[in-house]
Amino acid sequence: MSRAAQEFLRSAAIKSADLTHRQVIRRNIDSYNTANERGRSRFLDWEAARLKCEQIKWEAVNNLDRYLLEFEQRVKDRGGHVFWAENSEEARNYIANLAAARGVKKVVKSKSMVSEEIHLSPALEKLGIKVVETDLGEYIVQLREETPYHIVTPAMHLNRTDIAKLFKEKLGDVDTDDPQQLVAAARRSLRRDFFSAEMGISGANFLVADAGMIALTTNEGNARLSTSIPRIHVVLSGIEKVIPHLHDLAVLWPVLATAGTGQPITCYSTLVGGPRQPGEADGPEEFHVVLVDNGRSELLANPEEREVLHCIRCGACINACPVFRTVGGHAYGTTYMGPIGSVLTPRLRGLPEFNHLSYASSLCGACSDVCPVRISLHHHLLHNRRDAVAESDRPFAERVAFRLWRWGMLGEHRFAFFGWMARLGMRVLKALHLDGTVFDPARPWNRNHAATVPPPKPFRALWGKSDGHN
């Protein structure tokens, strides 16, 4: 078992038993569900909107080379720079070198999961640069020295009291648990940072090919401040975020907002087209787009798994996931959590180390049902499992067990014999009070379930005798 798998099992078991955590998450997701349901009802036909979004992303992903080059050309035409980063290190180095060359001392960041994926902040901090997260949720987890708990709502695991305590400790000038005053305190502090930072780093919800612009959505307006006040604006984005046309946003923006938070549209929807042009009053002097591959083109090369790149990072599958609600966002130990994380991480970072995440699902399919771009997430989990077995990434004992199982299932007499043995074994263990102990092969089950005494006879021995007359 990989280190990551052991760590996951350990943290998942701890969180599973944490009833306070379960309540906090249930409450937060309940209010998400209420908003989301209201949001979907505003659409004339939500299913048609999903289908449309799937088509747009299909078109983009299946012609990714063409749309990315178109996007690059248009960005360059307006004086922007585009850097193609094959992996995390290349992306980190490009931004770190740029910051060093321009004498940057402070960076303000608008929310970007790719920056988490490439571990950007530690790399900049190592150069003595102060990095400030400006999304309120990100700001809170940064103060706590944690990673985001959820890709859309990074501080979902915290309540008002937790945040009040944190602010009192870290900001000093605030002692209240009134949400408005807490927000005001964060805002006071962040304002100073927006105006003193030399570099702003943002993600991109979409890269619009025909406009050569990036589309950003936030509820706090922090992306606008991060990308227009500092001298340099750096955009970090996965290559799969490109979409063909500006008019695609007419459906993608409301669908993203609805799936993400239940809003009809996110409060601040911004298109950024590059550095300040002659005659313009504001905007950055320099504009850099870092396009990150980091394993994505391998997914692209795999026709069966390609649709995973359709993901628009709305977080709907995470909210729908009963495993996420049980273990929480941190147990995964990965940048992307929940169903999309369990599908994506083993593909981006390797099946041997991360295939356990593809197994950490009951395959209930709630994720696929809510995905606004109709990714069949639980089927991809099945594919990851199949490929993990094919590449011999699974334990020897498990492989032997299934070979034996197959032999047993290929003949009804063998099957009946194994069944008889199992039932006898269960009765003996029970009689000796050994069920649930280390002598019990079904211990993981019997530890959590009251014992069931197996029947003396199976259905096949009974069915002919059953009366059909009652």
Partner: protein, 256 residues
């Protein structure tokens, strides 16, 4: 009435045969002629879901051969029905048997689906004087799109009070090998579900998947809960006759 071949999942055969027997009683009562192909073992889902497609494939092929000539196949599990209808075509893609898998998929029905949609029966003449909540099992709900069928049948059961439990569509946490590999997560999910059944003050949680019910049953008894589990067939089999067996299926054998 139709001639029906019984598809009894491996664990029902070995661990909860009463679910199969109850289904037999109901199907006979509505006039079906039944046949149990005794060569059947397992549909292959445990291996398929764990990624062992090479091991699942011959088991699936054998299953198709056994049910090849069956006019209609009925199964008391939405999950095993899903395996045959939805996953066999993918498992056998590119093999000679894919076509036959697709054809068989159209003739395999989950028990409540068969009653309501094929046999067009909603009142099977059952009596069950208890307060009952339905757990919507994932495969039945999301792969076979069944939700109202079991409720429709329950509404026609005499003296039965049907209640909805909160979050009835949440997964119970069973998930096959998931329950063993990630037993802590699985048990916590089951525990949450058990709590919802208690909130609804149901005497029984019913459903169309004996695997979910087996899991919930073990958890409910572990909690010393007042809620019992019973498969839908177990309710529909009860006619209120004096000579009839007691109700709860698995629970009666289990010990608190």
């Amino acid at each position: 009435m139709a001639r029906v071949a019984l598809f009894i999942p491996c664990f029902v055969d070995q661990l909860v045969p009463e679910v199969g027997l109850d289904m037999v009683r109901v199907l006979r009562r509505i006039g079906c002629e039944l046949d149990f192909p005794e060569e059947q073992t397992c549909c292959g889902q445990p291996a398929f879901n764990t990624g062992y497609w090479e091991d699942a494939r011959p088991v699936a092929e054998r299953f198709i051969q056994i049910f090849r000539r069956a006019e209609m196949v009925v199964c008391p599990s939405g999950s095993c029905t899903t395996m045959v209808r939805k996953f066999y075509p993918e498992l056998l893609a590119g093999t000679a048997m894919q076509k036959e898998a697709l054809a068989l998929g159209e003739r395999v029905f989950e028990f409540s689906e068969f009653l309501v949609k094929v046999a067009k029966v909603t009142d099977v003449g059952a009596t069950f004087p208890h307060r009952v909540a339905v757990h919507d099992s994932c495969h039945g709900l999301r792969e076979l799109h069944l939700k109202q069928e079991s409720r429709e049948l329950l509404r026609h059961v005499r003296s039965l009070e049907l209640v909805e439990m909160p979050y009835s569509e949440d997964c119970c946490g069973f998930g096959g090998t998931f329950a063993v590999k990630f037993s802590a997560i699985s048990a916590a999910m089951g525990d949450a579900k058990a709590g919802f059944a208690e909130t609804a003050a149901a005497e029984y949680v019913t459903g169309t998947d004996p695997s979910c019910l087996l899991h919930l049953d073990g958890i409910l008894r572990r909690r010393n809960s007042a809620v019992h589990t019973i498969h839908l067939a177990g309710i529909l089999a009860q006619t209120g006759g004096a000579a009839e067996r007691r109700p709860p299926a698995a629970s009666s054998r289990g010990q608190r």
